[in-house]
Structure formats: structure tokens, C-alpha cells
Symmetry: C2
Subunit: 154 residues, 2 copies
């Protein structure tokens, strides 16, 4: 194996762990790029592996391809991204992650408190206040805990 500089789509697939079809798909969406050989086959530079890795990682934390694409679009076109380039990304995403983590914690801690009470059904619950337009429906059931039902069959 000569000192390879470029990778075929199959090689990228193998090394990155994503399917060839997914790579095609990412390319169509502009998340990665390639150039073509005279025979129209894709060839990738090494940084595609980095990009794909990032795509996967970001997806695992629930970032959509659209967002990932937007972020990756900030990387330089003509050269291999530098450490600083990548760090811009990671910093941006770390903020997002911090936010997500905070949300999850809030949810986790809120669940046990909230689920058993009546607050979920109304727009007062901290868990429910995320911009649901909602209601102002007038008076209605406010604390809806059903009367302690006499459970007939367990």
C-alpha cells in the first residue's frame, strides 16, 4: 500500500464506520466534499474522516444534519482546517451541549416531583413552559388530581 493521500468512498466508509450511501448523502447535503478522478469516482482528502467523525458525534447528541452542515460550512473551503478552525466548532457545540445537559437535569429532577402532581396539565409546570402557545382557556380544571379512585381490579 503506497503512501496513500486520498481515500475512495469505500475506504472512508470502512474507516469511519458509516455506509457508502450515507457518505453520498452527506455529500449531497454539502457536509463533506470530494473531487473526482478522470473516471468520475470520488476521492476524499484525509480531513473527511475528521468531518465524518464530527458528524457522527454531533448526531449522537441530537444535532441535526442541517445544523451540523451549517457549522461545518464555517470551516475553510480551500485548505485543511486547522486546530483553531475545529475549536471554533467545538466551542459552539459545547455551549449547546451545556444547555442540553441543563435541560435534561431539569427534566430529570422535575419528573418525579411533577408527574405525581397535577401541575403538568396546566401551564404552570416548569416542565411544560417551553413556549407552548396554549390556552388562557379561562377557568377549567386547575388541579386535576382525580378523586382517590376506589380501584376495582388491580
Amino acid at each position: 500500500m503506497a503512501p496513500v493521500t486520498e481515500l475512495t468512498v469505500g475506504q472512508v466508509a470502512m474507516r469511519s464506520g458509516v455506509a457508502v450511501s450515507a457518505l453520498h448523502f452527506y455529500e449531497a447535503r454539502g457536509l463533506i466534499r470530494s473531487h473526482r478522478t478522470s473516471g468520475n469516482q470520488r476521492r476524499y482528502g484525509r480531513d473527511v474522516l475528521r468531518r465524518v467523525a464530527i458528524i457522527k458525534v454531533a448526531q449522537e447528541v441530537g444535532i441535526s444534519l442541517a445544523e451540523i452542515g451549517a457549522a461545518l460550512a464555517s470551516l475553510p473551503e480551500g485548505r485543511t482546517p486547522t486546530r483553531d478552525d475545529w475549536n471554533l466548532l467545538s466551542t459552539a457545540w459545547r455551549d449547546g451541549l451545556d444547555h442540553k445537559i441543563a435541560q435534561l437535569k431539569k427534566l430529570r429532577d422535575g419528573l418525579t416531583d411533577c408527574i405525581g402532581c397535577g401541575c403538568m396539565s396546566i401551564d404552570k409546570c416548569p416542565l411544560r413552559n417551553k413556549g407552548d402557545r396554549l390556552s388562557r382557556e379561562g377557568t377549567g380544571a386547575r388541579r386535576l388530581i382525580a378523586p382517590p379512585s376506589p380501584r376495582s381490579g388491580g
Copy 2:
């Protein structure tokens, strides 16, 4: 407004903040139930609000409707769920949330370290070791930081 005991689909939609079509959809998936009036219209008991609230909350943290449905299926059929019933759910989900939070933290802390280095492209990176089958591709580029490319055009 008489002491309402049952809700129409429109009322549930308004109070829960989800669309009527979504309620129909949830019902088709078995996540909520209703009975029908003589005129074939849906009527909901109060606990549907609780259920819908839970569905939304769970979705926000990335639990699929299928999973939510499975969890909700553990609630009693014939009676209004008790606090204990709900607590079983919340406990189960709290475990899931704890896991998710841990994952996110790992990712967050790993991002800055990993993104700038070469490890992502290989199966050694902690971020990439999540059961990607992958590679053993033989020798290849192991630390792929491209040579400091002479950047031609900004």
C-alpha cells in the same frame, strides 16, 4: 361551565397544546384512549392531560413514541393511575435520563480534547467507541493530522 368531567378532543388539544391531529395519532398508536359519544365523537377522561403532558416531556428528552407507548402501557387500564403508577414511569425514565446526561457530559468534555487531535479518525477515541463495528483495516494513516498545508487562498 358545568362541572365538566369529560373533554372533547378540541379541549384536550387546547389545554395540552398539541394538535387534534396529533391526539388522533397518539390514539391510533395506543398512547391515549377515549370512548365515544352516541354521535361517535371522542371523549377523554382527565388523565389524558397527564398522559399527553408526559408524552411531550418524554419526547423533549428524546424518548420515542414507541418507548413512551410501552411505558404508558404499564399504566392501569381500568382506573385512573395512582401516584405510584406514575412514579414507576418516572423512575424508569430517570435512569434513562441519567444515562443520557452522562453521555452528553462525556461528549462535551471529549469534544474539545478530541476534535483538534487525530484520534477521531481512528477507533481509539473515547468519543467514537460506541459499538461501531469498524475497520481493523490494516495499516493506514494512524495520526492523520495533515501536514501544515500552505494555504493558498483564504
